[in-house]
Every structure is written in C-alpha cells, then in structure tokens.
Amino acid sequence: MAAISRRRLLETLSAGVTSVAFAPLLAARAAAAAQQGAAEHLPPFTGPDANPYWSSVGPVVTYPQKYPLILLTDRPVQLETPRHYFLSPFTPNGAFYVRWHLQGIPSTVDLAEWRLEVSGNVERPLKFSLPELLAKFPSTSIAAVNQCSGNSRSYLQPRVPGGQWGNGAMGNALWTGMRLRDVLRAAGVRPGSVQVQFQGMDEGPGPEGLGSHSFLKSLDLTNPVIEECLLAYEMNGEPLPLLNGFPLRVVVPGYFGTYWVKALTSIRVLDKPDENFWMKSAYRIPDTARGSTTPEAVKAGNVKTIPIGRMPVRSFIITPEPDEKIPAGLPLTLRGIAFSGSGRVTKVEVSADNGHTWAAAHLGEDYGPYSFRTWEFPWTADHRGMHTLAVRATDEKGNLQPDEPVWNPGGYLWNRIERQKITVGAAQ
C-alpha cells in the first residue's frame, strides 16, 4: 500500500472520470482490433523466403470423413494434417493428410462393380471382389508411416513449384490387408518380369498415355520391399476414408507415399521397365548424397536422377508450440515423433541450445520399424529469454539427421534437423 504514490492514485481516479468517454474508446478499439484481427490470420502464401511456419498456410477446411484440415488445393483434393495430431504415435483416419494427383477421384465406390484385377505377365490373370480377396488371402497388420515425397517442400531455398506442404503431409497408421506377394503368387509371375505396376480409380482429363490421364506407379520385382507390401483395406482398424483410398490401397513400408496407390483396381506385372510419366519424369531425385543438388547443376543439365524411394530419417518437436510462453524454472516435457524409412529409430536427441549440446530423449513404445516413434524430454528453462530447441534422430542403420538443408528441383527429401524457438518468461 505504501508503494502506491499519490500521483498514481490520482491517475487511477482520473481514469474513472474518463470512463464517460468509454463508448468512443470502444469504437476506436474495435477499428484497431479489426486490423489486428486481419494480422492474426496467416498470410495467403509464403515466399520467396522459406515458409516460416510449421504447417502450410492455407485455410482450415472440412471434408467428408475428415476433421478440419489445412487446404492446399480443392480439385484434386490435397489436405495437410495440423501439427497437434502428431502428439500420438498413430494419426487418426479423420486427420490423415490427403494427396491426389488427378481431378477424377472417387467420391462413390460401388463395391458391386469394384474389382481388383491382376494382369500382365502372369500365368493366371485374376479378378477379385472385396469379399473374394478377404476369403482367399490371410490378412496381416503393420504400423507404417506414409509421408508425401514433397512433405516440407515449402522450406527449400530457393523455393520450388509444387504442393507447398509444411510438415503435415505425413501420418502413421496401423494398416491391415493382404500381402502383395500372396496375390502375385496366386497369379503366378512369369519369368522375365521386371516390375509390378499399380493403378487406382483416379483419372484425369488429359490424353491417354500422358501423366494427366492416369496415375501409375511401379516397383522393381527384385526390390526387397515387395515382400513387405500390403494391400490394405483397413487403417487403424477401420475402413479407409474415401479420400485415403477406400476400399484398398497399396502400403509400401518405409517408402514415400507416391507408391501407396489409392483406390487400387489394377496390379500389372511388367516385362519392361515402366516408362510412364509418373515413373520416368516425376518423383525423381538426383542420384547424389541425400538427393541434393543445386539450381546451377540443374540448369547445366548434368543431374542424373533416379526414382524416389525410401524416406530419410526425420524427427519433429510437436510441443511446445511457438506461441506458448513458458515460465522460467517450470519443469515441462518436450514431446515429438521420429521415424525413418530405413528401419527403427534407435535414438532421439534434444538440444536446448540451438544444437550446440545434445542429450538423449526417452523413446516411446516401439510399434515396429516403420512406425512413428514418440519421444519425450523433460526440460526446465533456467533463464528467461528466447530459447532455440532442436531435435535429431538416428535410425538402426546409423543414419543421423544432418543439419544441412536439402535442395532439388522436385522439392523432395527434406529432413534437416528441426528447430523450435520458444519464449521463456520471468517466473516472478
């Protein structure tokens, strides 16, 4: 009480007197707030600098069978998963990101018509209805991350055209389905076969034979991943949402999502390598370390490319988010996820000093080599100010996330160490 000066007391009194002028004050505040309100929403685009946000900047939208997600495009549909869903090791079906290539995507699937056809260089071409598939082949389940090849494209410098994803074009699910190898065995792959090609129900208005007409993806038959592929009819114990590939989609554990063909209708065994656009021109990465190159090398035309394949090791800080303010001295738990296309994440390390020193985080439950693995790191900020947290993961093959950026013209393979700035405030 003694600390209250007479002058402050008078100011307080006069503030009461001026309250008769409250109405115009409120109007002025409203005008200021209207401007402020506009500034509180994300800008409609980012660039030419890197996207400064964790997610892409599109509006939040609602789609059938989906929770509110971030819109990239509405036709064909591309939706990004918001950050907070990655606190759990399995991404809910309703929150799972969506990426289609051609506008003719299924909104109705008539199972009376739908068939899976196995054709091409096989002894016995086959056709299955969904009940026939379920009856003929045993089912198995695998936890696996599906990540878009272009996930995090908006962080590349210089920026490249394409879907401007933030970090949310990924998700982890428990996929249940029949093994691809069992289906191939039933049809009998003939000698001289080299690849297996997948096609789904999606189609575009372009001329036949071009990428704008059909989306086709192939895997080498000698690729060991063939043994691990599933044809999934369930994700997280439920039928797939239509936007995620109902009634059946290919699951290629450890591989980027481009091979996980949705609403699958055709499996073709090829005796020549697939030369369609989606294999020969799109989804290719420089044949270099980390698939990185430079705009100059691309311009000079001397970048040899190969089809994209396994996902590099990545880890993310999910909480705290940057808009949180943490009181100094308050113990808290940093949380996130990690995964790798090359096998189990064996170590996650956290740095609270912008990557100068690292300490091991506690790993969450192990759901298998291709799953998200959650991590936790108890941390107490000992002083106020801006702190830069960082996280890096190591997988069982010894791959450690690097701190150098990636650049290639497709905007693929981003896996640089993630950082998160947070504000620590005075505690008293």
Binding site: R75, V109, R159, G163
Partner: protein, 137 residues
C-alpha cells in the same frame, strides 16, 4: 454500524485502488470484437443406404479470387480444365522463367491444348501478378 470511521473509508478506497492497479498487470475480462476465424460445422451426412455404394457425395469446390488484369480469364479458364486455379495461388512467388516452365509443362507434358498466343497472354498475367516483384495477393 451506522457510522464508518474516516480511516476505514480511506482503507477501503486504497484497497479498491490497489485492485485496479493490480488488474493493469494481470488483466481480466479483456474481450475485443474480432474475426473469430469461425468454421461452420458440417451437418451429419444423410442416412446411408444399405447397398454396395460407398459414397461421400460431392467434394466441395470454390472459385478463388484472382487479381484483376489482362489475361485473368484465360489463366483461370485454361488452368481450370484440369485442376483448380488455386494451384497458382498456393505457389510461392516464382520467376517469369519458372512460370514459363510451368506453362510449357502443362502444354507439352500434360497435353493441354493452349494456342501459342494465349500461352503468351497467360505467361504475361502470371508475370504481372505472381513473381517475387509483383505478387501482392
């Protein structure tokens, strides 16, 4: 008590003043008229039939706003043939060369039939509104 002492009145007044001053530090009841960022809830889907058709009805689609200028209708019209014109708005600002490569890709790689002079109009529009120097929207 019908009469309060002047000391008690002064003490009450000081306490109230202290509360006012305190509230300037820890604020309460601070509401401002502002855009809520509201997203209306979708209604439950209509009752499902028990046949073999699995349907989610039609996908929502919207027509994004494009800056006015020569060539706008050409851009939105031709692009719209295969995909939402929002594909353009989603991109970061791109150089004229990058936009030229995109137009060429749509014609040569994806088979979109755009007359040569229209391609030039489309490129000029993209250059006028969607490069690092020109992009505002």
């Amino acid at each position: 008590m019908s009469h309060r002492s002047p000391y008690a009145l002064a003490a009450t007044f000081l306490c109230l003043s202290a509360a006012t001053l305190l509230s300037a530090q820890s604020e309460r009841g601070d509401y401002m008229p502002r855009n809520l960022g509201a997203l209306s809830q979708p209604a439950p889907r209509r009752a499902q039939t028990d046949d073999a058709k699995y349907s989610i009805g039609s996908y929502p689609y919207f027509w994004p706003e494009f800056p006015e200028g020569e060539g706008r209708d050409m851009v939105t019209g031709y692009c719209n043939a295969c995909h939402s014109p929002r594909y353009i708005l989603m991109q970061p600002p791109l150089s004229r060369d990058q936009w030229a490569a995109e137009v060429t890709k749509m014609v040569k790689t994806y088979g979109m039939d755009i007359p040569q002079d229209t391609q030039a109009v489309i490129l000029d529009y993209l250059d006028a509104h969607f490069t690092p120097e020109t992009r505002k929207h």
